[in-house]
């Protein structure tokens, strides 16, 4: 696939400003598959997961994956607000504190229970899915790498995904960026 990257608007606004009007919702990412274009990050991820065998084989499996992804998205949004979007230093510190002390522990506690209730190894459907990859990505992006170690099953899943050969090689060769 073509991995087209625009310079971060936090560094240089011009390339994004020029591109923005042509996007469906004035946002990135956008995926082009043949003639058709879709937007919205989680929609793109789900579409690609389904296309390449990392989605559910029936509605319930798909729903179980979606559910975990939704829970992680809620937490990601709060982290983005604290880390990226909030400009006021005092508010930023308060948001980060709330994330570190409430949002993150609650999310991990709930997911540890959820994964236990579903066989203990994977987030959904008893096999590797995009929910596990999304989880790996979420945990890998956390500034504090120690937090996950407090959750036995989540930590095991994190390491399992991290060591998948193709994931490992992508992480090693992908472009570095701040965001």
């Amino acid at each position: 696939y073509e991995d087209h990257r625009l310079e971060s608007p936090f560094i240089n606004a011009e390339p994004w400003v020029a591109y923005k009007p042509s996007t469906p919702y004035g946002q990135l990412p956008v995926l082009k598959d043949g003639d058709v274009e879709i937007a919205q990050s989680m929609t793109i991820a789900r579409y690609v997961a389904n296309k390449f065998g990392l989605g559910g084989n029936n509605p319930l499996e798909s729903a179980q994956m979606d559910e975990v992804v939704d829970a992680l998205s809620d937490a990601t949004e709060k982290q983005y607000n604290a880390f990226l979007f909030e400009k006021d230093e005092t508010k930023k510190a308060a948001l980060q504190k709330a994330f570190n002390e409430e949002v993150l522990p609650n999310t991990f506690k709930n997911l540890e229970k959820r994964i236990e209730g579903r066989g203990g190894e994977y987030m959904a459907a008893g096999r590797l899915s995009w929910a596990d990859i999304m989880f790996y990505h979420f945990a890998a992006e956390l500034p504090d790498k120690e937090v996950i170690k407090g959750y036995a099953k989540l930590n095991a899943l994190f390491n399992k995904v991290a060591n998948l050969p193709k994931i490992k090689s992508w992480v090693e060769r992908r472009p570095d960026s701040a965001v």
């Binding site: 469906p24 919702y25 793109i44 579409y47 319930l60 729903a63 979606d66 559910e67 829970a71």
Partner: protein, 206 residues
């Protein structure tokens, strides 16, 4: 033995559960529309998988996360279009609508205080005005009749939920140039099962 009814549990109000209620109303599903108050929610919360509502219970399983529940029901009752791309187009619109709905909830919660609500509405409109303009364009680009797959999907039902919220919050101005959206909304409202649901559902005092 007949399968048990599904139970959708939420607070008494549209909020994040209405889309699932609309899907089941459209499909003619007999479900338990369980509405609880805050006291009951506090008692229930420790046992909820993510400490949140809504939840969908069926055959001993509990599913959470409002959009996930709605997508599961949409798949079950054939409201996701005819192919993977239509389903993705519906997901895309729902994601965009959820962004706007998220900005409108604080306005809804502040409606008892007109001054606070007005300020929050101004903030929300910064997202909703371009948001609805983009959806109008998206709708036109996809044939002008439906938001995904050129057929009725749960995305069209969710449009109905979010525009109702927008209007309740006093944000009608965001729909000013959105003729195709308004037309789609009227057609959704006129669907017999939707009309029946809207007329018979519990009325929530703001």
């Amino acid at each position: 033995m007949a399968p048990n009814k599904m139970t959708l549990t939420y607070f008494d109000g549209p909020g994040r559960a209405e889309i699932s209620r609309l899907i089941m109303a459209y499909a003619g599903v007999d479900f338990e529309d369980k509405r609880i108050d805050f006291a009951e929610f506090s008692r229930l919360k420790p046992s909820l998988p993510y400490g949140q509502l809504p939840t969908l219970e069926m055959d001993g399983k509990c599913l959470c996360q409002s959009t996930t529940i709605a997508r599961y029901l949409a798949n079950k009752y054939n409201l996701t279009g005819h192919c993977a791309m239509s389903a993705a187009q519906a997901d895309e619109v729902v994601d965009a609508l959820n962004d706007m709905q998220g900005k409108l909830f604080p306005v809804y919660l502040a409606l008892k205080d007109p001054a606070a609500a007005k300020e929050k509405l101004a903030e929300a409109l910064k997202v909703c005005t371009p948001g609805f303009a983009n959806l109008e364009k998206r709708l036109e680009a996809r044939g002008g009749q439906f938001l995904a797959g050129n057929t009725l999907t749960w995305a069209d039902l969710h449009l109905h939920v979010v525009t109702n919220l927008l209007v309740t919050c006093g944000g009608d101005a965001a729909l000013a140039g959105c003729f195709k959206i308004k037309d789609l909304n009227s057609r959704v409202a006129a669907l017999p099962n939707i009309k029946k649901w809207v007329e018979s559902r519990p009325v929530t005092k703001v």
